[in-house]
Symmetry: C3
Subunit: 257 residues, 3 copies
């Protein structure tokens, strides 16, 4: 019942791929490119114009690319001038500002708010209500949990915009804050409700406010299998990831060969 071609507002300057479904009440602005087999659900806005639109009569909307086989859930607003790899998925009511780049197979949860000028690698998963400040750079296989904030202003308010950097495979638990300019290594675990004000080395578990080193993640006992560590997590979790069915280490070996 979402796809009745009712009240669609699709620009003649948008390019829509083969077999794309667009839900009722969705608006697609100028210069949006949508890949094949993608679903844009109802009440979405794709290619939302920048602020300049409101007052500049010669405004031209910059290009927005949504990859193939994507699923944008209802009530999502995606500004122009961003690029999303294939298999992109969103929850409901996501907001993504300009100059955001997502690699392939990324997911952004309900109510998340991406402030723009942000880069993500592949296979990132943002849960509900994640806030990513401008200038953040996030690797691949990074999962971020609800109410996490990546900040960028070291002296609020200032003209400095110094985003955080997060390495591949790192996990940031609920309600944690990454302070401006911080670099987080690979395979890091940030505990819930942490405030990270120093760089974090690979494989560290840090927690607290300010966050302190607790242990190496490989020392954390698994609750399912107490003889082993759960981490590095890719050896223990593979749903929807490229090593699914193969195992992380075999996949990694294939990558490196």
């Amino acid at each position: 019942m979402k796809f009745n071609n009712k009240r669609l507002n699709i620009s003649s300057k948008a390019e829509i791929g083969q077999n794309v479904k667009i839900g009722d009440d969705t608006i697609i602005y100028d210069n949006v490119f949508i890949g094949d087999n993608t679903i844009i659900s109802n009440n979405c806005v794709i290619g939302e114009p920048s602020n300049d639109y409101y007052n500049n009569k010669s405004y031209t909307n910059k290009k927005t690319f949504i990859g193939a086989n994507s699923l944008i859930r209802s009530h999502t607003i995606i500004y122009c001038e961003s690029t999303f790899g294939d298999n992109f998925q969103t929850g409901h009511r996501v907001t993504i500002r300009e100059k955001t780049t997502f690699g392939k197979s990324c997911q952004v949860g309900t109510l998340s708010d991406i402030q723009g000028d942000v880069e993500f690698g592949d296979y990132c998963r943002l849960h509900s209500n994640v806030h990513i400040g401008k200038g953040s750079k996030i690797g691949s296989y990074v999962f971020i949990y609800p109410y996490v904030v990546l900040t960028n202003d070291p002296h609020p308010p200032s003209n400095i915009c110094s985003g955080a950097t997060v390495g591949d495979y790192s996990q940031i638990a609920v309600q944690s804050i990454i302070l401006p300019g911080i670099t987080i290594g690979q395979h890091v675990l940030i505990g819930a409700n942490s405030t990270v004000n120093k760089n974090v080395n690979d494989y560290s578990l840090v927690a607290g406010s300010p966050a302190k080193l607790i242990t190496d993640v490989r020392e954390i006992k698994s609750k399912e299998n107490p003889k082993e560590s759960h981490y590095p997590w890719p050896k223990s979790f593979e749903r929807g990831l490229p090593w699914e069915g193969l195992g992380y280490y075999k996949w990694l070996k294939n990558q490196n060969d």
Copy 2:
């Protein structure tokens, strides 16, 4: 001005009770049952289909029940396969996923995000922007304040889903986090910005990150009446609750008789 019968999209397979009002631009999907005298405001989605809908041509929407005398405020999205008792109320832009059960007279505030597979008793009140993870079990008369998160994954990311349990009458203050599998007793008060990583006994005030026992809630002096404790709170607060006008202890005695 909300109820002009404009652009309604109500499935012929939905069952709408007597004297129900449905706001403009609202969508009611298949197999939704709405009790008498309920108001669904404008721009809501009731019975939102599960993910399977997007690709399964023989998809059938599971049943959703909204109790009588309820008020769903605008822009709320309720997935199929949930049940809401009578007198249910929401704020704006609430999202509730599948397999959620609410007892009677519950309220869910603006922007709250219920992830599904969750049970609530009666007379629960979730303030704005509460996030309830899958697998949580919440008693009756539980009030949860803004930006609280109930989590469920002890090893992010893992395949374990171990929701929290919250006993009757407990109160969880703003921005607190309940970690996976934790059990919170009855009449508990969780202070603001706490991270609860251990089970909490009845009548405890806990606070901090990680949360520590501060005192018995019955030792907390009332700011209005410093000779008495405010807690257990039902003796001091009755607006909209079943003991309103009677008093908690008399009501409790009647319940137990």
Copy 3:
């Protein structure tokens, strides 16, 4: 493409100024006054009726004033009985309840939730997803960052509503909580993830949970210019503020002359 006069629902009892643009699918209720040159984008609700509307047949909507030269971005809900000074701006999906007063040139970010009975001075900036409890009083030039909560109930739940007070020029960093009845002075900086449970003097940097005095803000070294302090911030930051191009101290002297 936002302003096609499609599916507008504008009350005949609203007063719309000169050169106002109203986006598609926007609803303007009775007794809303919109100043000249203001833009209300698509899918907004302005003058949302109070709860009484749902059941009182003789309901009359109270007056709502939106100042001139304002920009309300899409999907914003503003209840009746509030007043917004000129040059007011919102992000997307903002919710503002009744009896809210904003001075001139204020901004409220995406997803922010103002609970009503709140006063703001001039030139306040609320970033995304800020939650302001009922009864709060906020001065001028106050900036509040994502996921900050101003609370008001000292004994959850109680019938006391004791909002916080925030002085001019103060800055409240991400995820901080201001507890009920707290007074924060002028030029204060509240660090990220703080829980403020005591009054805060002018020019203090406080941080932690509970928040403790760290230093005088004027002792904080600037990252751009380590020989100077960044604070008081108006000497270092002027974008969009009345001292832009003149300098804070000259402007202040002019104000006081």
